[in-house]
């Protein structure tokens, strides 16, 4: 088996400068699968910064991926602002009751204090430990749920999207207060020695229109990214679902790297915005990583690399979204191994072999993995 020749930080630094690297950076976006690695129940992670840290350090050491994201769920900031989160015994937490029932209660909302409210202090503690233990060799990020998505946890998704048409001013208010929480949390994440990593699931065009994105998501993302840049950190912005009509705006908001999922087309992204922003994606988390075989995973990695390795601003092999908790370890290893086998610059012989084996029926016009 091929071994890595560089640490993730060495690799990323060299890649950014256009120097020789052993392989492309690769990020299977591990979430609560990290709990499986240390054989912990997911509910045990709640309020336990040390255990969250342990899970993510051990998972990183097991797989050797290029970015650690100290992630349990998307709700930690909303929880700190009053949303009620349900923590099943051994599944990812979910929103039980939004922070307010009705928009008339909007004035009761306050931005969260990352050192005091909800479980935020435990997450900051976890990030700090991870950064101390392995931060010299790998980028450690802290997940920030962006204003529009966080707002949906404050008032409920259906209510929020209705308000975009019925009472846009209130949506702006909810985004503004979410942004304030985001800014404070981002500051705390950076002060803990980590990099904020942005997720804005509800801003997808699977939910709202590009026009609404421009009105309700873009301005807040831009202000958040401006702040993170002012602290000298680069920004990865993940939006799930359909995003091709907002890639330009995601780049304009200042994202250095956009993480796209399998509802988007990597090749199209390269052609449209590859000269402006780094791309990351988009192996199917569920169909390929959770349910696929090792061979399915390898095929998907080869196909993604073939589509995007020459994207002008760079490309990071990644899953399209966070991996499902029960993703088999062998598939995460397979993803990493495939990236190692193909090397960098990508080994033409490996490509040709895959084509010869019939894995790529068409040349450059196919979607990633199973759309073929």
């Amino acid at each position: 088996m091929i071994k890595d020749q560089m640490t993730p930080i060495e690799r990323m630094a060299a890649y950014n400068k256009g120097q020789q690297i052993d392989r492309l950076p690769c990020v299977p976006i591990v979430g609560n699968t990290a709990a499986r690695v240390i054989n912990a129940r997911i509910s045990e992670l709640r309020g336990n910064g040390k255990l969250i840290a342990k899970a993510h350090v051990v998972a990183y050491k097991l797989f050797g991926y290029d970015v650690i994201r100290v992630f349990t769920d998307l709700y930690v900031q909303a929880e700190a602002m009053g949303a009620k989160i349900h923590y099943p015994y051994d599944q990812t937490a979910y929103l039980e009751v939004p922070a307010i029932d009705d928009i008339s209660e909007i004035d009761s909302l306050e931005p969260a204090d990352p050192y005091k409210d909800g479980n935020l202090p435990h997450h900051i503690e976890a990030m700090k430990i991870v950064a101390e233990e392995v931060g010299n060799e790998v980028t450690v990020t802290g997940p920030v749920t962006c204003p529009f998505t966080n707002a949906s946890f404050l008032i409920g998704a259906e209510n929020l999207v209705r308000l975009t048409l019925k009472d846009p001013d209130k949506v702006h208010k909810l985004c503004e207060i979410s942004l304030e929480t985001n800014l404070r949390y981002a500051k705390a994440i950076i002060d803990a020695g980590c990099t904020p990593s942005l997720t804005d699931a509800m801003s997808s065009n699977t939910v709202i229109s590009p026009k609404q994105f421009k009105e309700f998501s873009y301005p807040y993302l831009k202000r958040l990214i401006d702040y993170i840049h002012s602290r000298g950190k680069s920004v990865t912005l993940h939006i799930c679902g359909k995003t091709n009509k907002i890639w330009e705006l995601m780049a304009e908001a200042g994202a250095d790297c956009i993480s796209i999922d399998n509802d988007a087309n990597l090749l199209e992204a390269k052609q449209k915005v590859g000269h402006k922003v780094r791309l990351m994606g988009n192996i199917k988390p569920s169909e390929t990583m959770l349910q696929g075989t090792v061979s399915d995973v390898k095929k998907a990695v080869f196909e993604c690399i073939r589509q995007a390795y020459d994207s002008p601003k760079g490309y990071i092999v990644a899953s399209g979204c966070s991996l499902p908790t029960e993703t088999p370890f062998r598939n995460i290893h397979a993803m990493m191994d495939a990236v190692r086998e193909i090397g960098y610059p990508p080994n033409e012989d490996v490509f040709n072999y895959m084509i010869y084996k019939g894995h790529f029926p068409s040349q450059y016009d196919s979607y990633c993995s199973d759309y073929i």
Partner: protein
């Protein structure tokens, strides 16, 4: 000056498409006052409007906010028209049990499918969200449903769908029901793998699938 029936239904459909709840209520009331058939007004007015909204959604003219506002208008119209439906005009309505599988509380997609199925003439029994597998089977038996529709937006809860099918198999009643699945992480491949009868990628598609599964009627 009373407008013609077809024109009124068209206006009702337009009001739904235009997300105009007040206008939809006004026109629905007019349907009753003018003595037109409520069911026909639902079918050719409200449901037609929802159908057009669904098409606009597929074409990416409309997004979730617009679709929800259309459904708000449609439901407001339904509240007016439903009490006036003549029983004999209902004909045979196929029954669907729908819900979000256990562990998942995201029900935006399920609600849209429910609305579209209802406006397409199905009788829908909505179990809500976070529903244990056995409840789907019990409810389907209880109401003599033809279809069990399962939704999830989360990868962590997909297994609950397979469990519903397992239970049907264990009870030797699998062939009495059609099982359809949908939601963000679900794919045709997943549907095939767990032995579901069909997968649909969105709400409008779910209606077409449901019609196909019951043999083109409804």
């Amino acid at each position: 000056m009373s407008v013609g029936k077809e024109e009124l239904f068209k206006e009702l459909s337009d009001a739904v498409v235009n997300m105009d709840e007040d206008e939809t209520v006004l026109l629905s009331t007019k349907v009753i006052v003018d003595g037109y058939d409520a069911y026909e007004a639902i079918d050719k007015g409200l449901a037609d409007g929802m159908d057009r909204a669904g098409k606009l959604f597929e074409e990416e003219e409309y997004f979730i906010p617009e679709l929800l506002m259309c459904s708000d208008a449609m439901y407001a119209g339904l509240d007016v028209l439903k009490p006036h439906i003549k029983l004999d005009s209902e004909g045979e309505r196929y029954r669907v049990v729908i819900g979000v599988v256990e562990g998942d509380t995201h029900d935006i997609g399920k609600n849209l499918v429910k609305i579209m199925l209802e406006s397409a003439g199905f009788e829908v029994f909505d179990l809500g969200r976070d529903i244990p597998p056995i409840r789907f089977v019990e409810k389907a038996k209880e109401v003599n449903a033809k279809i069990i529709a399962l939704s999830t937006l989360m990868t962590t809860t997909m297994d609950g769908m397979e469990e519903v099918i397992n239970i049907l198999n264990q009870h030797n009643i699998r062939d009495q029901y059609k099982v359809m699945v949908g939601g963000g992480p679900i794919s045709q491949r997943f549907a095939d793998k767990i032995g579901a009868d069909g997968y649909s990628v969105n709400a409008a598609e779910a209606v077409r699938l449901a019609r196909k599964l019951v043999g083109g009627a409804a």
